[in-house]
């Protein structure tokens, strides 16, 4: 049972990890994008539309489906959709300097609405189920490697992509000038500006890329985890992704562990259900991630160590003339 839990949790880490890595990248530029749940939904919408377009292209014949286009087309559409909504968030908050909280929440409403519309329009499709098989196709030799292979290597590519992206983002933030400039923008835009770094470009690029990454979380959920069924609960994972950003104190590599932990906690309830005296305890288990996040938030603010604080200008618009 334990192995089964860990195996599933490892796979389920992806949705949290995509979301939190994307949001971390965004927040590092000083944008507190509360629209991330909506962007995950919107990216997922893009993916299902992409898959549908592929379905039309091959005349709806499931047997004609091939792995490469069935995977790549939805991912590209997801990037296009999520990236566009991220750019729109920037247009409103960076260029038009609107309130970030208000804009983000509106984007979430919008994104959730769009996905639920397409859930109604597209419904369940055979092509989606077939595509899902491509997504979940794991390595053949995984089972031969004993339990390690089963737990960590038997999954579709998305979880490995998620880990790779988060490690890459962590690397870029820590080891490159690009990352240094981006963090300068989030910490102290006036200083970055004075050093010749474009605040606007950095915010746009980070937010758009972050949105694309977050959108992959939605794609994973639909095509990998749910086997091609369009869900209506992506929003909840989006909020948890924001929680993970706090939990991992804005470090994508810690985000991997945090996402794994959150995934385990989410799945735990169905594994421990037989041992619980009542079904209600499961709800308390689901509460743990939020409570722990709050505790992290509190502890970091009490300890007040600079490295574990949110980016100093998080949530604020930058206007050069306003010093």
């Amino acid at each position: 049972m334990f192995t089964a839990l860990i195996t599933e949790a490892f796979r389920f880490t992806a949705i949290y990890l995509f979301g939190s890595t994307g949001e971390t990248l965004t927040e590092k530029s000083g944008n507190l994008n509360l629209g991330i749940p909506g962007i995950m939904c919107f990216g997922a919408t893009g993916a299902v539309i992409g898959e549908y377009v592929y379905e039309l292209a091959i005349g709806g014949d499931v047997s004609k489906m091939q792995a490469f286009p069935a995977i790549v087309i939805p991912l590209l559409f997801c990037m296009l959709f999520a990236g566009a909504l991220g750019a729109f968030y920037c247009l409103l908050t960076v260029t038009l300097r609107c309130n970030q909280n208000v804009t983000g929440l509106t984007i979430t409403t919008f994104g959730v609405g769009v996905l639920s519309y397409f859930k109604g329009v597209l419904g369940t499709r055979a092509t989606f189920a077939k595509a899902s098989l491509f997504f979940t196709d794991g390595l053949d030799f995984a089972d031969k490697l004993g339990w390690i292979g089963k737990v960590f290597l038997s999954h579709g590519f998305m979880i490995y992509l998620a880990i790779a992206i988060s490690l890459l983002v962590a690397f870029v933030l820590k080891k490159t000038r690009t990352g240094l400039s981006l963090q300068a923008v989030g910490e102290n835009p006036a200083t970055a500006d004075a050093a010749g770094i474009s605040v606007t470009t950095n915010k746009y690029v980070a937010t758009v890329l972050g949105s694309m990454i977050a959108g992959f979380g939605g794609v994973f959920y639909i095509f990998d985890y749910l086997g091609g069924v369009i869900p209506n609960d992506i929003e909840a994972f989006g909020w948890l992704a924001i929680a993970i950003v706090i939990f991992s104190v804005w470090r994508p590599n810690l985000g991997i562990l945090a996402s794994f932990l959150f995934a385990t906690l989410y799945l735990l309830k169905s594994y421990v259900a037989p041992y619980l005296s009542g079904i209600e305890q499961a709800e308390l288990i689901k509460m743990i991630p939020y409570v722990v996040t709050i505790l992290v938030l509190i502890v970091t603010s009490i300890v007040n160590k600079k490295e574990t604080q949110p980016p100093a200008s998080l949530g604020l618009s930058y206007f050069r003339e306003e010093r």
Partner: protein
């Protein structure tokens, strides 16, 4: 004679009506430290901002290395190897010092087109087709060597964009030993700093060092430092001077803005004096003395004809004993300050900006916790009974019946709320009165009407947000409110800063009226002419210490000026 680094010719700058700089000619040489000396508002910073590309001169020209240049932006300044260290540091707190130094560094220019041109020079000059004489016949054959020569060049050119990309990627990586490399450079100049440390772990002087290294690292040849010693302890100042001297030996031209005469004498080779935007003179430091410099700096006495009556029955109202305030960088902002403010008297406080004036007033008002000393108030309503004001909050001070009014320096950021109307701003002081849960707007409204009428505040009505009023009117509202509570002590910090002549006189008259009523007035000012004509006594602060309390009726401007700049001797370390 050293070569000229930068030369300003007839530079003028106006801001609307105000002339900040007028026909300034200034020459700075390499291997030289030039002090720019002048009172507050004499145009030093504006002048330097024109060199560093923040402002653009209205008239005149700037030459660098003998060639006229246009410095239109900070980036232009950077290209001309000009670096300015501002008073407010531009550093990212959570980055290490080393990362702050390399932040925003651009890759060395790599032009594909230029490189390609270089490559083309290596093209073989021979023809690919070679005529070979054999048996009396000439046959044409391909010369593979030459062909290979051509190919090599074109392949190289084709590879250039990739090389550029590769260089870009390689440049983007932060080298692991970047701290070490920078540290070596810093050590070479004798900077005592650990570049591994995060900015928030550094003291103010270390932060300044980071700024200086940053400017040097960007290859600056002309360095401008805006009041670099204002935030430093005497020991740190000595270290800074040692660094500046080393940079001078390195061929840099250095301009240092300062008010402190002893520092001017200690560090600079030449002194340029600005007064009211005009360049008065540039003299060799070795051929001048502090007295002469002060005279040039403050200029001749200007008579202002401010009324001044003799104090009537002055009694001690407020006594400050051994007041000491230390900031979190362990710098003493106030050091053992002792004085008495008397009723019916205006006590002036003179000093260079940032000498501890703000901390002094805020300590008295209960806004700053002080680290040593006592403040005692003598209550006139209780037969001058002593009231201890030590570690009391503003509310506690008010509850003790101490009628203390305070016109802070920051009018719209502290004394008033810019977005609130005049009436609501009147309430700031009085809204707590009474036990009602609700605020009473009748009395404040009446007060607002009175102030608008009596002080001739120009405003559409009393429901206008104060931020929409002009500076003079804002100040009238603030001073009017503070006076309205019938204070026994009135403190005013720079109450006429930025005001036109008429408004200034209104404020002087108001202060004089309070004096006649027996109020102990404490006036922090920057214009020495005003201080000397308005006040009864003048307390001079210099770097948090009192350097003198003098009778304003028998003192000259130069004497006050000397007291203002009288810090401990800067001793040579080398």
């Amino acid at each position: 004679m050293n070569p000229i680094a930068i030369e300003l010719k007839g530079v003028s700058k106006r801001f609307g009506e105000v002339v900040a700089n007028k026909n300034v000619n200034l020459t700075v040489y390499k291997n030289e430290i030039l002090s720019l000396l002048g009172e507050n508002g004499s145009g030093k910073t504006t002048l330097m901002n024109m060199i560093s590309g923040i402002y653009f001169p209205d008239e005149g020209s700037i030459e660098i290395n003998g060639k006229p240049v246009v410095i239109g932006s900070p980036r232009d300044a950077h290209n001309y190897k000009i670096g300015m260290i501002h008073q407010h540091f531009k550093l990212v707190d959570v980055f290490s010092a080393a990362d702050n130094i390399i932040l925003g560094e651009k890759m060395p220019v790599y032009s594909v087109r230029g490189e390609a041109k270089e490559c083309l020079k290596a093209l073989p000059t021979d023809s690919v087709v070679k005529e070979v004489e054999k048996d009396g016949k000439t046959t044409k054959t391909l010369d593979f060597n030459t062909l290979w020569g051509y190919l090599k060049v074109y392949l190289k050119i084709a590879a250039l964009p990739f090389i550029k990309f590769g260089k870009k990627v390689a440049f983007d990586f932060l080298k692991k030993n970047r701290v070490k490399e920078l540290q070596a450079v810093a050590d070479k100049y004798g900077f005592e700093i650990d570049l591994k440390k995060k900015i928030y772990e550094l003291s103010v002087s270390e932060k300044q060092t980071v700024e200086i290294i940053k400017v040097l690292y960007r290859g600056a040849e002309i360095l401008i430092l805006d009041e670099p010693t204002a935030v430093l302890t005497p020991q740190e100042t000595l270290k800074l001077f040692a660094v500046l001297r080393r940079m001078r030996e390195d061929g840099k031209a250095i301009i240092i803005i300062t008010h402190k005469l002893n520092e001017v004498m200690a560090i600079s080779d030449k002194v340029a004096i600005l007064r009211k935007g005009e360049h008065i003179a540039t003299v060799n430091t070795a051929e001048t003395n502090e007295k002469e410099l002060t005279e040039m700096m403050v200029g001749k006495k200007v008579s202002l004809n401010i009324d001044r009556d003799d104090p009537v029955n002055p009694v001690d109202r407020l006594k400050v004993k051994g007041l000491t305030v230390i900031n979190h960088d362990k710098i003493k902002l106030l050091d053992d300050v002792n004085f008495v403010a008397r009723s019916g008297e205006i006590l002036g406080i003179a000093g260079i900006a940032g000498s501890g004036q703000r901390e002094l007033l805020e300590s008295i008002a209960g806004l700053v916790k002080f680290d040593g000393g006592d403040i005692v108030y003598y209550d006139p309503q209780k037969n001058n009974e002593e009231v201890d004001l030590k570690s009391k909050t503003p509310v506690q001070i008010r509850d003790l019946g101490v009628r203390l009014s305070f016109v802070p320096e920051d009018r719209l950021g502290m004394g008033l709320v810019g977005n609130m109307d005049i009436v609501d701003n009147m309430m700031l002081r009085s809204y707590k009165r009474g036990h009602s849960l609700f605020v009473d707007r009748k009395a404040p409204s009446k007060l607002a009407d009175e102030i608008v009428h009596d002080l001739e505040v120009v405003t559409p009505n009393t429901r206008t947000a104060v931020r929409k009023l002009s500076g003079g009117n804002v100040q009238k509202v603030l001073v009017g409110r503070e006076i309205a509570s019938a204070p026994t002590v009135l403190m005013a910090a720079y109450p006429v800063r930025g005001l036109d002549i008429n408004s200034s006189y209104t404020i002087y008259n108001l202060l004089n009226e309070q004096k006649k009523k027996g109020v102990a007035v404490i006036f922090v000012g920057e214009d020495l002419d005003v201080l000397i004509e308005l006040c009864d006594r003048i307390l001079v602060l210099c770097a948090g210490k009192i350097t003198g309390i003098v009778d304003a009726r028998n003192i000259t401007k130069e004497e006050v000026g000397l007291l203002m700049t009288k810090t401990e001797e800067v001793k040579e370390v080398e």
